[in-house]
């Protein structure tokens, strides 16, 4: 079947009230969560995940994708109105969005953020449709050695770019791999770190670990230092974005979208670097470059196009290779697994209707985002007033119900709380949680492919270098480590110079 046949076959799965409601509801939840400082798109997706258990697979996954898309855009609202990014991806939007709000042009900045987000989102979704199938058909030729080297490369890059320290990122990934060994051995079925406890035989529950790592530490951080946001919400103003302004920024939006698509399709990079790269490219090429940082609408357009351009593209490695590109797609992979689906090249053969239904849903989500985002902008004042002293205990209760619902087991709630304290320890010590979670998910896959490769070769490690694909991934892994070490050494030298200058003054 060709692309259009697949889309036609998938259409009935999306063209129903449940799917539309899930998408619209998801976008609404995402925009609201993204707009609340202290919540994030990641936390919103994690907390929504348990609510999808009762839904059909396609409906549940569309709900989560809606939350993801809405969350990324929602983060731009507080970035512009109160100079606080709702999600890290919106940090670049502050640079010109907040000065515009100070000049009484908040409505214009938010309008441009919305249009740039929707345009970039659409381009990203189209790229996903074009490239995911092609990459999946290529990945069908992958065997265990190729998958092993691919996962190793993905983990290296995720560990390297997630935090400020490469060593701490790698440490997080290694501890994630260690946690993934809990349970029964994959080949012999013998005990590994499970204390002969039936609750641990199947390994730790993925949802308990992820909610523990990403929601509980935020609650504990709030308990450590309870404070409410006292930022002043800027009025929207009377000015709105015009078509001429959109046309003037169009080049930057398209450029930013493709930057987002490119960076989003590489596991681990994420939306924030894409937004900053898109912003700096727009500033470099714009005739108004002197106005950047002072309230230039093109700056808002570029940064929002950069971060939303990632949203569809991060699903390329997820759907085509089964490798999550960032934390949110790692959570979405959990939704697939809960519903008995395994993303990867085989899904393009076994469940092609679901894949194309998701593609269609994503295209529809770009249109829905335009309407729901427009309403959310006007309602932000009420969203911003949700007190954190009510929000954070509420999140705790949501976590407890959500995690319990996975297996109807209080043991999972205990795991969640323990992981929450681990996550809080990591937060206090600047250890990034993303490599931990992604390594925890990919750990069994990494080990399984390694051992399958060893079984194939009767223990000869040369099999890990058997094809140009494995060589390619080994080479990219080494280049990635070399580049990260070089960047770290350069930062250290710069810090040393800065320190010398400070002490000599």
């Amino acid at each position: 079947m060709n692309l259009f046949d697949n889309l036609a076959a998938a259409w009935p799965l999306v063209a129903n009230i449940e799917s539309f409601s899930a998408l619209a509801g998801g976008i609404l939840i995402g925009v609201i969560a993204g707009a609340i400082p202290g919540m994030s798109a990641t936390m919103a997706v994690a907390l929504t995940l348990p609510f999808t258990f009762a839904l059909q697979p396609i409906t549940g996954i569309l709900l989560l994708l809606g939350v993801y898309k809405g969350g990324i855009f929602g983060g731009s609202i507080p970035a512009i109105l109160i100079k606080t990014p709702g999600t890290p991806a919106s940090s670049a939007t502050i640079l010109d969005g907040y000065p515009m709000a100070e000049n009484g042009q908040a409505g214009k900045a938010l309008g441009m953020a919305l249009y740039a987000s929707c345009t970039a989102d659409l381009i990203s979704n189209l790229s996903l449709i074009l490239f995911a199938g092609w990459l999946a058909s290529f990945a069908l030729s992958f065997g265990p050695p190729e998958f092993f080297t691919l996962i190793l490369f993905s983990l290296t890059i995720i560990a390297g770019v997630s935090g400020e320290s490469l060593i701490k990122g790698l440490l997080a990934a290694v501890f994630g791999l260690l946690l993934a060994t809990v349970g029964l051995d994959l080949v012999y079925g013998t005990n590994r770190f499970n204390f002969n406890d039936a609750n641990l035989m199947g390994g730790l529950n993925f949802i308990a670990v992820l909610i523990g790592l990403f929601a509980i530490p935020e609650i504990l951080a709030y308990v450590w230092q309870p404070r409410s946001s006292d930022e002043q919400v800027r009025p929207l103003g009377e000015q709105h974005v015009t078509f001429a302004e959109y046309r003037r920024c169009f080049k930057s939006i398209i450029r930013g979208s493709f930057i987002g698509v490119f960076l989003g399709s590489i596991p681990g990079i994420g939306a924030a670097p894409s937004a900053f790269l898109s912003y700096s490219e727009a500033r470099r090429r714009s005739p108004n470059k002197s106005n950047f940082g002072k309230g230039e609408i093109e700056g808002v357009a570029a940064s929002e196009a950069g971060n939303n351009g990632v949203a569809g593209a991060t699903l390329i490695p997820l759907l085509a290779l089964g490798v999550p590109g960032d934390v949110i797609t790692a959570i979405i992979i959990g939704a697939f697994m809960v519903h008995g689906l395994q993303p990867g090249p085989m899904m393009f053969i076994a469940n092609v209707d679901i894949i194309y239904a998701l593609f269609l849903g994503l295209i529809i989500s770009s249109v829905l985002l335009l309407f729901i985002g427009g309403v959310a902008i006007r309602l932000f004042r009420y969203i911003a007033e949700v007190p954190r002293s009510i929000l954070m205990p509420g999140v705790l209760i949501l976590c407890v119900y959500g995690v319990y619902a996975v297996n109807n087991n209080v043991f999972d709630v205990i795991v969640m709380f323990l992981m929450g304290w681990v996550g809080y320890f990591m937060l206090r010590n600047d250890i990034p949680p993303a490599p931990f979670l992604i390594a925890f998910i990919l750990g069994p896959l990494l080990e399984d492919n390694f051992r399958q490769a060893m079984l194939m070769s009767n223990g000869a490690p040369q099999i890990l270098f058997r094809s140009y694909i494995t060589w390619f991934f080994w080479a990219t892994t080494i280049i990635t480590i070399a580049a990260l070490v070089r960047t770290g050494l350069r930062a250290r030298t710069d810090a040393g110079k800065a320190l010398q200058a400070t002490t000599s003054e």
């Binding site: 290694v174 308990v223 007190p387 209760i397 119900y401 206090r428 223990g459 250290r492 320190l499």
Partner: protein, 168 residues
């Protein structure tokens, strides 16, 4: 404690944990059949590799921190920026949160999830001294009931009812 010495202690802890894995945890807690033909296929092989990576990375963390250009006293941790009294209160709040979490787990089979989570909500609100106590009480009652209604009646989850109260 500044960031530099904090990272040295962190590295030392990581190395100690790696040694603990190699010396005690893997030999005792990972069972390996005696007839494993190839070393790579042994159930202990992967955990041993991970333990060595833990030791190597912990050592690298110590070495890189020792040779980092950060001067003593620079890069003071956020906790040290708080007044000593504030740190004591913050630590007490964290301890209270830990007690609430343990209490929630223990109370769920007895009180039921609705009551236990409602009490946990109210307790956390009290710990952070919410400026909106009435709203907190209302949410502490309504939110667990709404979640119960969804998970029990829509998602079909068997939510623990407890010994004293049975909800429809």
């Amino acid at each position: 404690m500044n960031v530099k010495s904090n990272d040295i202690w962190l590295g030392a802890g990581v190395v100690t944990f790696g040694i603990f894995l190699l010396v005690y945890a893997i030999p005792v807690l990972v069972s390996s059949p005696s007839n494993v033909r190839v070393l790579f296929l042994s159930p202990t092989f992967w955990p041993v590799i991970i333990a060595w990576m833990v030791i190597i990375l912990g050592t690298m963390l110590i070495i890189t921190t020792l040779f980092s250009p950060t001067a003593e006293g620079i890069g003071v941790a956020a906790a040290d920026e708080m007044e000593r009294e504030e740190v004591v209160f913050a630590t007490a709040r964290l301890a209270a949160a830990a007690i609430i979490m343990v209490g929630l787990v223990l109370a769920t089979p007895i009180l039921g999830m609705v009551l236990a989570t409602g009490l946990a909500f109210a307790s956390i609100s009290a710990v952070v001294t919410t400026p909106r106590p009435i709203a907190a009480v209302i949410v502490a009652v309504v939110l667990p009931l709404v979640l119960y209604a969804f998970f029990a009646h829509v998602a079909g989850v068997s939510v623990p009812q407890g010994r004293f109260m049975t909800l429809p």
